[in-house]
Amino acid sequence: MFAAIDLGLRENTAERIVRIALFIGLAALPGLWHGQYALGLLTLMAVYGVLLIGLDATVGYLGQVNLAQAALFGLGAYGSALAVQAGAPLPLALLAGIAAAVLPGAALAIPALRLEGPQFALSTLSFATLSVIFLNESESLTHGALGLSIVRPSLFTLSLDARSFYWLCLVVLFIAWWASQTMLKSRFGLSIEALRDSPTATDALGIGTLRHKALAFAWGSSLAGLAGGLHAMNFGYLQPAAFGYDLMVMLLLGVVFGGRRSQWGAFAGAAVVAMLPNLLSNRTLFFGLVCFGCMLTLVSPIRALITRRVPSFREVAPAGAMAVAFGLAFMAANLEEWRKGIFALFLFAAVVGLPDGLAGAFAITLQKIIRFKPDPLPPATGGISSMEMSVGSALIASNLSKSFGGVRAVDNVSLEIGKGETLGLIGPNGSGKTTFINLISGLYVPDGGSVEIAGKRSAPGSLMSASAAGGARTFQNLQPFSGLSALESILVCQGDGGKSEAMGLLRAVGLEDKARLRCSDMSYGDLRFLEIARALATKPRLLMLDEPAAGMSKPDIVRLVTLIASIKKAGLSILLIEHHQDVVAELCDRVAVMDGGRLIALGTPDKVRHDPKVIEAYLGTEDVEALVKCEMEPKLC
C-alpha cells in the first residue's frame, strides 16, 4: 500500500526509547493530574503491571494456563504485611512477600509442572483455593475475614506519601520489566519458549523440560509476591476474599487481552484491569469505547462481504460480541453492575479477533509502517564436528521389544552401530522403524531389552538420559520451535558455544541467510534441515535421522545427501531411516531391514538389495503370489 518508513533504528533500540519515554511520562503524570483517586489508580496499575509480567512468564512464555497467580499475590501481600507488623523495614518486608509467594509456589511446582493443559490449570486452581482457605482460617495470623491492617513503612528514613510510593512502584515495575525482558531473551528464556512449542523435542535434544518450567514458574511467583508486598503497603488493609477466583479471572484475561509473551502486553493488560471499573462509571467514555470497538470489529466482515465471500466465524464473532456490548450500553441501568459481563464481551472479541492481544496487533501494525534495522549477525565459524568416543560402538541395542495392544511393533531387535558408521534402517510401511528409533531415543519405555549409546546405558523411556549419553534425533513429523528463529533454535540446543558457532552450523546446512527467520515462517524443507542442525548442535555421538527426506523436493534431496555425506565425513555415527532407496544406497555402510517388527536382514546395501527375504518384504512373497495367482486367476478372466 505505502512504503514503510525507515528510521535506521534497530527494533530493540526503538523499543527501549519508547519504554523509557513511557516511564518518564508515567512519573510525570501525578504532577499534571492532581487528585488522590487518580494516583491510587496509577499505583494500582503499576502493581498489577508487576503481577501480570510475572503471570505472563507461565501463561505466555510457558504456554500453560496458570490460575494460581492471584493467590500467590495474596500470599505475598500477607507475607509483607506480617513482616511490616513485626517491624521489618520496607525492603525486608518486600523480600518477605517474595518468600511468602515463592516457597508455597515451589511446593506446588514440584507436582504441578509434570502436568499439562487442563490438568495443570486444575492443580493451580486447587492451590489457589487452598491458599485462600489458609488465609481465611489462620485467624491467629491473618485475622481471617476480618482483615489485616498495616501502616505503610518508611523507606529507610524517608516517609512515603502516596505520590512517592507511586514512584517507588514505578521503579519496581521498571526493574521487573527490564529483568523479565533480559531473562526471557536469554538462552534460558528461549529454552522456555522451545519447550512450549515441543516438549518432546526439548527433552530429546537435552535442553530439559522440568528445570526450565520450574524456574519460569518460580520467577512468575516471585513477581507475584513482590507485587503483593507493594499492594499491601498501598492499601494498608487486606482481606482474603480479595485474592479469589474473581481476581484470578481478571488477571488471566488481562494478560490475554494485552498480549501474551510481551511485557508491553502485560502492562497494557494491567492498565485495562486497573482502569476498567472507572471506565464503566463514565457512560460517555464507555459509549465512545464501544462505538470504537464496533467499528474496529466491523472492518473484517465488511471486507469479506465486499469481496463477495461469506465471512468466517472468526470475522463475525468479535462484531457480534461488540454488538451485545452496544446493546448493554443502551439498556443497562447500571453499567458497573455489568462490569464482568462487559469485560467478558471485550475479551471475547479480543481473544477471537486479536489472538496476539493488543500489544501483538500493535506490533504487527507498527512493523508494517516502520522498517527497522535488523540486528547484526556474527560471522559463521566452525561447522560439523564430531565428539571423541572412547568405545567402539555408537549404539548397542539388545533384544528390544515393544507392543501396542495386540500388535508387536518391535519384536526382539538387536542392532549395533560402529564408530563412524552410517547404518540405514529400511522396511515397508508399518514395519516398526519409527517405533525402534522411539525406543532408542527414550520416547517409549521398551517392554524388554536395553539400549546403550556411546558406551552409556540410558535409562529406559528417558529422552534426557539418551540425549545425555550422546544421542540426538530428528523427527519424522517435524517438531519445530515455532516461536523461535532459526538461529535461536540452534542456540537453545547448544550446551556451550556462541552465536558464531551456531551460525557455522546454519551455514553447514545451508540456512545461513535464513538465520533470522521464525520457524513458523520457514518452508517445510528448510525445517527438515534445521532439525538436523539442531541435533548437531547438541554435539552428539549418535545422530538418528527419522525419514529426513520425507516430503522434500528433488533438489532438496540432493542437498540432503551432500549434507549427510559431510556429517559422515566428520566422523559421526548415523542411524538413518529412509524410504528413498537411492539415498540409502549412496550413504550407508550397512543396511538393516525390518519387516513386521523384526530385523530380517543386515549387510551392505548391495547384499541386502539382492537378499530374497528383502525382495519378498517389499514386493510380496513369491508363495503368496503363487497361491493367489492359481486360486484367483480363473475368476478374474
Binding site: 486444575l122 483455593t129 481471617g144 518432546t200 479471572v249 484475561l253 464482568k340 471475547f348 477471537v352
Partner: protein
C-alpha cells in the same frame, strides 16, 4: 461412642450425596472431553443457569415434571452454543484458547445472572416434603435422595444411550478416531455438537437437583466448577463410572474434614489429595495411560 460413630457416618453420607452431584457435573466434562478433547471451564455457570431456568419456569406456573426437562432443554442449547462460539475455532487451530474462551463465556453468564436474577440465594421449589427420612438412624431428605437417584439415573441413561443407540456408538467412534469416523459417513462435527448439548443438558439437570439442597445463587458456579473438575480429573477424563467413586470420596472427605478441622478447612484435604493424585497419576486414578506420538 455409638452416637458419635453414627454422627460421623451421617456426615460422610451427607457429603457423599453432594459428591454424587459433583460426579454428575463431572460427567458433563467427560462427555465433551471424549468427543473433542475439550472441557467447559464454565460448567458451573451452566449448572447455575440450569437452576435459575428451573426457578423461572416454576415461577410461571409450570409443574415440576415439566420444569426439569425445560431446564435441560435450556442447558442443551447453551452447551451447543458454547461449543459453537468458544471451542470450535480454538480446537481447529490446535491451541488452548478454548480454556480462556470457556472461562470468558462463563464470566458473561455469571454477570448476566447477577443482573437478571440478582445476587441473593434463592430456594428451588420442589413438590416433595421437606422432612427427613430415616434409614437405620441415618437421616436423609427427599431432596438428597433426588440427587442420588437423579445423578445415577442420568449417567446410566446417557451411558445406555451411548451403547445402545447408533448415535451414541457414532459419538464413541468419533472420540476414538475422528478421521475413520468421517470415512464411515459420520459427520464428526455433529457428533461433537451433540456431546456438548448432552453435557449442557446434564449440567442443567444437575442444577435442578442440587438447587433444592444448596439453594441457588451466583456464588455456586465457581465452587462447582472446581469440584466437578477435580472429580473428573482425579478419576480420569475417560474413566466412566469411576467418577462416582471419586465424587463420593471427595464429598465425604469434605464433610469429615470439616468436622475434624473446622468448617473453613473442609475443602483443604480434598484439594491436597487432588494435587497429589494428579502428580502421581496425571491420567487419573481410573484413566488409561496416554501414548506420546511423534
Amino acid at each position: 461412642m455409638d452416637a458419635k460413630y453414627l454422627a460421623l457416618v451421617q456426615m460422610a453420607v451427607g457429603g457423599g450425596v453432594m459428591g454424587m452431584a459433583y460426579a454428575l457435573v463431572a460427567y458433563g466434562f467427560q462427555l465433551t472431553y471424549a468427543a473433542g478433547k475439550a472441557v467447559n471451564f464454565g460448567q458451573g455457570e451452566l449448572v447455575m443457569l440450569g437452576a435459575f431456568a428451573g426457578i423461572t419456569l416454576s415461577g410461571i406456573g409450570l409443574p415440576y415434571w415439566a420444569v426439569v426437562p425445560g431446564a435441560m432443554v435450556v442447558g442443551a442449547l447453551l452447551g451447543w452454543f458454547i461449543e459453537r462460539v468458544a471451542v470450535r475455532l480454538a480446537l481447529k487451530q490446535r491451541n488452548e484458547g478454548w480454556i480462556l474462551l470457556t472461562i470468558i463465556v462463563g464470566l458473561f453468564a455469571l454477570s448476566s445472572v447477577e443482573n437478571i436474577w440478582g445476587r441473593e440465594d434463592r430456594p428451588f421449589p420442589v413438590p416433595w416434603p421437606a422432612e427427613a427420612l430415616d434409614f437405620f438412624g441415618i437421616s436423609f431428605t427427599w431432596s438428597e435422595l433426588a440427587i442420588v437417584v437423579g445423578a445415577l439415573g442420568m449417567m446410566t441413561l446417557v451411558e445406555l444411550a451411548k451403547r445402545y443407540t447408533m448415535a451414541g456408538i457414532a459419538v464413541q467412534a468419533v472420540s476414538a478416531d475422528p478421521d475413520a469416523a468421517e470415512l464411515c459417513g459420520i459427520r464428526s462435527q455433529s457428533a461433537i455438537s451433540l456431546s456438548w448439548a448432552v453435557s449442557g443438558a446434564a449440567a442443567a439437570f444437575a442444577g435442578t437437583v442440587i438447587g433444592p439442597v444448596t439453594t441457588v445463587g451466583p456464588t455456586m458456579a465457581a465452587a462447582l466448577t472446581l469440584k466437578a473438575f477435580s472429580v473428573a480429573v482425579v478419576a480420569g477424563l475417560d474413566s466412566g463410572f469411576g467418577l462416582v467413586i471419586a465424587g463420593v470420596a471427595l464429598g465425604a472427605a469434605e464433610n469429615l474434614s470439616g468436622y475434624a478441622l473446622g468448617s473453613g478447612w473442609r475443602e483443604a484435604p480434598g484439594l491436597i489429595l487432588l494435587i497429589l493424585a494428579l502428580a502421581l497419576r496425571p491420567q487419573g486414578v481410573f484413566g488409561k495411560k496416554i501414548i506420546r506420538k511423534v
